[in-house]
């Protein structure tokens, strides 16, 4: 469903993403794992069409990503990106104006569960509230693919569970959910596939339950094994 072929991005002398070839299938919740700077964000930005690759390509349903794919891909950046003059309600209206798959009903439901007020100015939101608002507006789209970059950053335990619920509710056989995180434990139970990146390179792609059954390793164990002491505990 979402496929990258030898995808590469070079910033000056630094290679952020290095020939990553991935084929992510619908019907899965996929965790993209790696410490900060491993290329997760850059890969996602290229898959969202916000950032042009240095070389390589990304395909959505067999077609190069572009204007058309953006109508079906809901991307949530890790940084706050709302216009500062907007209230949360304005953001939702903006999404409704531009995305045919946006549901105001679902959005209001998520806001209520996150205990967020629609009339808050995005400028005044705390980091936790901002993270929730970003999730609410992104998950209120009935997209084919959701890409969430670090959805659990800056969010307390209760809200993390609420976000996980929202993610589980959206999962379906014809949809793909891709989440990046360096908080591996948070991904453990809700993801069924995991992609490990290190220094821009694809290290490994695993089926989480198969991995547990065959090696007795959780993805957190796997993570520690791959990244060792230096990469493991950056949370």
């Amino acid at each position: 469903m979402l496929k990258s072929e030898a995808l590469t991005k070079v910033f000056g002398s630094k290679t952020a993403v290095d020939h990553v070839s991935l084929n992510l299938e619908a019907g899965h919740i996929c965790a993209m794992l790696g410490p900060n700077g491993s290329g997760k964000t850059t890969w996602m930005k290229m898959a969202a069409g916000l950032c042009k690759p240095t070389s390589g390509q990304v395909f959505f349903d067999g077609e190069p990503i572009g204007v058309k794919s953006r109508a079906s891909v809901a991307y949530m950046s890790t940084e706050p990106y709302f216009y500062t003059w907007m209230t949360i309600r304005d953001v939702a209206k903006y999404y409704a104006d531009f995305f045919a798959d946006f549901s105001m009903e679902r959005f209001r439901d998520l806001l209520r569960r996150f205990e967020l007020e629609e009339n808050l100015k995005t400028k005044t939101l705390s980091s936790g509230m901002m993270a929730k608002a970003k999730i609410a507006v992104t998950m209120a789209r009935d997209a084919r693919i959701w890409m969430l970059d670090e959805p659990f950053n800056g969010i307390d335990l209760v809200a993390r569970d609420q976000i996980k619920s929202a993610i589980i509710e959206s999962a379906a056989p014809d949809k793909l959910l891709l989440m990046s995180s360096h908080l591996v434990e948070e991904m453990e139970s809700i993801a069924d596939r995991a992609v490990f990146l290190r220094k821009g390179q694809l290290i490994k792609e695993v089926d989480i339950e198969t991995e547990r059954a065959e090696t007795g390793c959780s993805i957190a164990d796997e993570y520690r094994r791959i990244y060792g002491a230096q990469g493991g505990e950056e949370a």
């Binding site: 019907g27 899965h28 919740i29 569970d161 996980k164 619920s165 589980i168 509710e169 999962a171 379906a172 453990e188 139970s189 809700i190 993801a191 069924d192 989480i208 339950e209 547990r212 059954a213 007795g216 390793c217 959780s218 957190a220 164990d221």
Partner: protein
């Protein structure tokens, strides 16, 4: 629910459901939550939740009725057999642990009896 790392999550959830079946919390014929509700209840992947029911169905413990949902089997003898099996597993676990502490099987039984007497006195 916290999952341990060493066994698949579907297995851990299935065990939990089985425990509820043998304890009577989920009586024969009881309706189980749908796949997505199960996923939400345990905060697990929906595919994992589906796997839980597939495996329970394979073991003959649940029945999937098309368009209706998933139900605990009406066959009480299957639940009874499950209960026996789980009791045996628990007893074996206990024996294994005592063996790892250096006790003989007879000593392990004595410990259990003493524990039971003390519990009755309280």
């Amino acid at each position: 629910m916290d999952f341990n790392a060493s066994s698949p999550i579907w297995m851990q959830v299935a065990t939990r459901i089985k425990t509820e079946m043998v304890s009577g919390k989920l009586p024969p014929g009881a309706k189980l939550p749908g796949g997505r509700e199960l996923a939400l209840q345990y905060t697990i992947n929906p595919n994992t939740a589906a796997r839980v029911y597939q495996e329970l169905e394979k073991e003959g413990l649940v029945e999937v009725r098309r368009g209706m949902g998933t139900y605990v089997t009406e066959a009480a003898e299957r639940i009874a057999r499950l209960r026996d099996g789980m009791a045996r597993d628990a007893a074996e676990d206990y024996m294994d642990r005592m063996a790892s502490l250096g006790y003989t099987r007879a000593e392990a039984v004595a410990w259990i009896e003493q524990e039971d007497r003390e519990h009755a006195e309280e």
